[in-house]
Each structure stands twice: as C-alpha cells, then as structure tokens.
C-alpha cells in the first residue's frame, strides 16, 4: 500500500519563533488585527507500508530520527492512502 504522510514540524511553544514574530509584525503593518503567529514546516513523505499502523510508525521514526529536533520542535503526522489517478 502506498501512503502519503504529512509531517507538520512546529517550534515548541516555549521556543521563540523569530519567523513567526516577523510575519506577525508584517501582518500588523498591513492593518490586520493579529495577536500571534507561529510558523512551521510541512514535509510530505510518499512511501509503501503493509498497513496504516506500520505507515504511521515509519513516519514517526523518520520524525524522531531526522525531521524534527526534539530539543526545539514538535511534530504531528497525518496519514492518507496515496490516490493514484487512472489514466
């Protein structure tokens, strides 16, 4: 089975996010009444796994080993089956 895992990596709440702060200031300068901005990144993985449980475990292993640094970041995985379009 083919899966697409979306790994959303975010700075931990107690870690400063200078990019978020800069975006916040920029949005305010445009007149938007925004009180907080946090930025993160999405990493999209496509891979094969026997079932959904195995796919989630694989994605989390990738998150722990490389995609996020646990000192400063948290991550979340959302998983879906890859949709292959018929020709």
């Amino acid at each position: 089975m083919r899966f697409v895992a979306r790994v959303l990596v975010r700075p931990k709440t107690d870690v400063r996010d200078p990019q978020g702060e800069a975006v916040l200031a920029a949005l305010r300068s445009l007149g938007h009444d925004v009180s907080g901005v946090r930025t993160g990144k999405e990493i999209v993985l496509t891979f094969s796994a026997p079932d959904e449980r195995a796919a989630r475990m694989a994605a989390e292993r990738m998150g722990d080993q490389l995609l996020a640094n646990p000192v400063i970041e948290n991550y979340e995985v959302t998983l879906e089956r890859e949709i292959v379009k018929a020709r």
Partner: protein, 239 residues
Amino acid sequence: MTKVAILRYPGTWSERDFAHALSLVDGVETEILWHEDARLAGFDAAIVPGGFSYGDYLRAGAIAKLSPATAELRRFAVDGGVVLGSCNGFQILCEAGLLPGALIRNSDLAYRCDWVHVRVESERTPFTDDLGDAVLKMPIGNGEGCWVSDPDTLARVEERGQVVFRYVDETGTRTPSANPNGSLNDIAGVRNEEGNVLGLMPHPERCSETLLGGTDGYRMLARLASVRHGTAPAVYRHR
C-alpha cells in the same frame, strides 16, 4: 606533537582557515579529513569547522549528524579525545547530541557577520584553561546562532558550569545589544559535562593573526599544543 584532525563535510568552508591558523601554533600538526573516511585513531583532537554542511537543509547540522563522522566523533569523545566545533560545527555537535541545546534562527532573522565580544565563563576546557574571565574579540558569521534549550537543560547547563562563552560588550558587561542573535542567557558557547567537547558560534580561526584584525582566537587555539589524546576528561572534570 599534537595531531589535530579537521573534518570536512560537503559545504564546510572553514577547514583550510583552521589548518592555516593552526600552522601558526608550534607543536601542532593538522590533517583535513573527508567526513566519510574520518578515522580519528591516532589523533589528539578533532575540529568540526564552520560552513553550510549539506546546504543547511532541514536544519543546520541536521543532515551532517547522520555522517559516519558523527559516530566516529562520539567514540573519540568518549575515549577522551578533544573536540572543538565552531559555527556550523557547533550546530552539528548539538544536532548530534554531543552538546546540549540547539541553534535556531537569529532573533532578528538577519545573517550576522560581525565582530563580537565573549567572556570566558569556564576554564574547564582545553581551550580556555587559564583564560577565565578573559574578554575575547572574535568574528561571527551565521544566520542560525541563537542557542536555545528547554528550561531544565538550561538550568543544568548553568548549574554545572557548562557555559564557556557569553556575549558581552567590550568592557565585559552583559547587555542586550551585545547579544547578536537572542541566545538564551547570552550563551555563545557550551561544553559537555566532561569538558573535552566544546562548541561556539564565533570563529577563532579567523582571528589568529594581526593581519586579520585580532589574535584572540589564537589564544584559544594555541592551547592545543598541550593536548594529548585521553587526558582531557581526567584533567578537566575534576578541576
């Protein structure tokens, strides 16, 4: 003779600067090693220089930590070898878990290329032995130099005297404007508990001769001449 290995990853840019700076130190010989075949047996110290290993993709140092050189560095450090990481080398050592904390984007988002002053906060490293409270002027060049950690790690690092360098002004006073990147507690460099692994954001190799505007880096690097493999933990842990 102290044998110093200088590691080179794809994107490392300061290995030859280190080799040059260390060529000015009597009693030290260097060899630049490609990270994939870095064998540290027979060396007394290893340097992880600055640059942009693997293009800083994902996070600075994140890909480099997967290099076989990291496992080799870990073995070397456990065995008592002396390890120094500067700039990207510091980021790699943090990513690899050889040093506490992490380096994130500078608080003003700018790439900072500047001279800074740091105060030596711990003499318990081979590079700062007898330099306690000295104020060193060194250059920085980084976009991700802001050292952070969780509160427990920060408390532990402070309590155990693992902070080796703190940003200060030229008189040695901590001020918000002397901190170029928003680092917690003005931290510019930390060591491991044993004292044989040291990382810092400034570049000692770029201030090792008067021609380059300063020699405070030489004051650190010259101490390598007395480093011998395996002596560091015993010497520095118990001082």
